[in-house]
């Protein structure tokens, strides 16, 4: 075949390829006309399930959680002076698109929890990073939100290995179950930095009722249930950490199962 015929064949192939892609595009457009996105089921990610025992609580704190200034974990009269054992659970560890909670798309993170033999009270808070700026939920002032679950098991008598949080900003925190035997936590840790010059308390919320834009304070005795992590503004979030805190040493048969699932919404 001489060159001119090859060139002609090449251009014909280009036209054919472009034509095929147009047929695909038109077919999909027609399909979308027949199946408008508004009538489709919302996209639900596969979710991820975590299992923890008492050793998951790898931090100890006198009352406070990370923020640019010490921020209380609880404000009710019976809990405001309590000390807490903390764990940080990263909720967006699955690959992009297929997976789990990343509030980069409009939507919320549904968290299903199930405690076994919970002693004292467990508190749930959210921490998230957007760019280089960390945010968390407020529990005082306008729009407080958090989830507190009261258990009735007998407290344990020996706590697992914990690190005391003495600083609450510019700190590295190791997620529950993270790290290795070397003791170097840096490769596995999250560096939490709240900018002292900006806010960070107003856009993240916890709620069981999605109609409450700014979330709600939930106090419950239910040992299993669900709540949602929501964002009411600001930039997309890159990383989401769930802070779980308990105010008692947990018994040896304590167990916590968390299932986190990103559920997309229309916007």
């Amino acid at each position: 075949m001489d060159l001119s015929k090859r060139v002609a064949a090449g251009f014909a192939l280009v036209v054919l390829v472009v034509g095929i892609f147009f047929v695909v595009q038109i077919t999909v457009e027609e399909w979308l006309t027949l199946n408008p996105p508004g009538q489709m089921s919302p996209v639900v990610d596969s979710g991820e399930t975590f299992h923890f025992t008492k050793t998951g609580f790898n931090y100890f704190s006198e009352c406070y959680r990370p923020y640019k200034e010490p921020l209380p974990i609880a404000v009710s009269d019976d809990l405001k002076d309590a000390s807490w054992y903390l764990m940080f659970v990263p909720l967006n560890v699955t690959p992009p698109y297929g997976g789990n909670p990343k509030l980069g798309r409009p939507g919320y993170v549904r968290v299903d929890y199930a405690f076994q033999n919970l002693a004292g009270t467990a508190a749930f808070h959210i921490l998230a990073i957007s760019g280089s700026s960390w945010r968390t939920n407020r529990i005082e002032g306008y729009g407080p939100s958090a989830v507190f679950v009261r258990g009735n098991a007998t407290p344990g008598d020996a706590r697992g290995p914990t690190t005391e949080l003495t600083e609450y900003n510019d700190i590295q925190v190791l997620p529950a179950g993270g790290g290795d035997d070397s003791g170097d936590i840096a490769p596995y840790a999250y560096y939490i930095h709240f900018d002292p010059a900006s806010g960070g308390l107003n856009s993240l919320h916890l709620t069981q009722d999605l109609s409450l834009v700014r979330g709600e304070m939930v106090y419950t005795d239910e040992q299993s249930g669900s709540f949602c992590l929501t964002s009411s503004g600001g930039n997309d979030l890159d990383e989401v950490l769930l802070l779980v805190a308990v105010d008692e040493v947990q018994p040896d048969d304590f167990a916590l199962e968390l299932k986190a699932q990103f559920i997309a919404t229309d916007g």
């Binding site: 060159l3 090859r6 060139v7 280009v14 892609f21 147009f22 595009q25 457009e29 399909w31 992009p96």
Partner: protein, 190 residues
Amino acid sequence: MFSVRTYFTLNEIALMSLLGGLFFVLKTALRMPLSIPGHTGIFLVIPVIIGVAIIRKPGSGTYIGLVAGVLLSFFGVSGMHVFDVFQYTALGMSVDFSGYFFHYRMESVPVSILAGIAGNVAKMLVNFAVDLAIGVPFVVVAIGAGISAVSHVIFGALGGLVSAYLVARLIKTGVIARNAGDAGADDTDA
């Protein structure tokens, strides 16, 4: 047994690596605020086509694309990160195949245009495949496939057009040696 060292001369390997580096530099330096799919093809196909035109051996375009893909992947220039390797290797392979199919007549405008189109469209196809592989719904990928194909063809063709001019000039100035009507690959003067 096949060996890159015996298949390509040291000069050729050096040239291909430099062109792969040029590809990376172009992609990094020329950031045009055009939200048109495939617009980078207007300059990305040029180093590959010139490399294939000079080396005139199957595999030269693949090598250039691979070097560029590894560099882009390593430096995380685009959002596809490690998948850049596949995209740009595919681009290089397509230009390679075009060169072989058209007897390395890259100074010919239609040939160079077709090579540019082939490279840019191959990049688009791999991009689609990666999107599907990482879980992007088919509908999202397919909804703009036709328009995207057209823009990739146009920008690839423009890149090929520029390449044809450059290759012709390089031949005219003697940088690339050519025998009249030559279809072989043994007169490289790179």
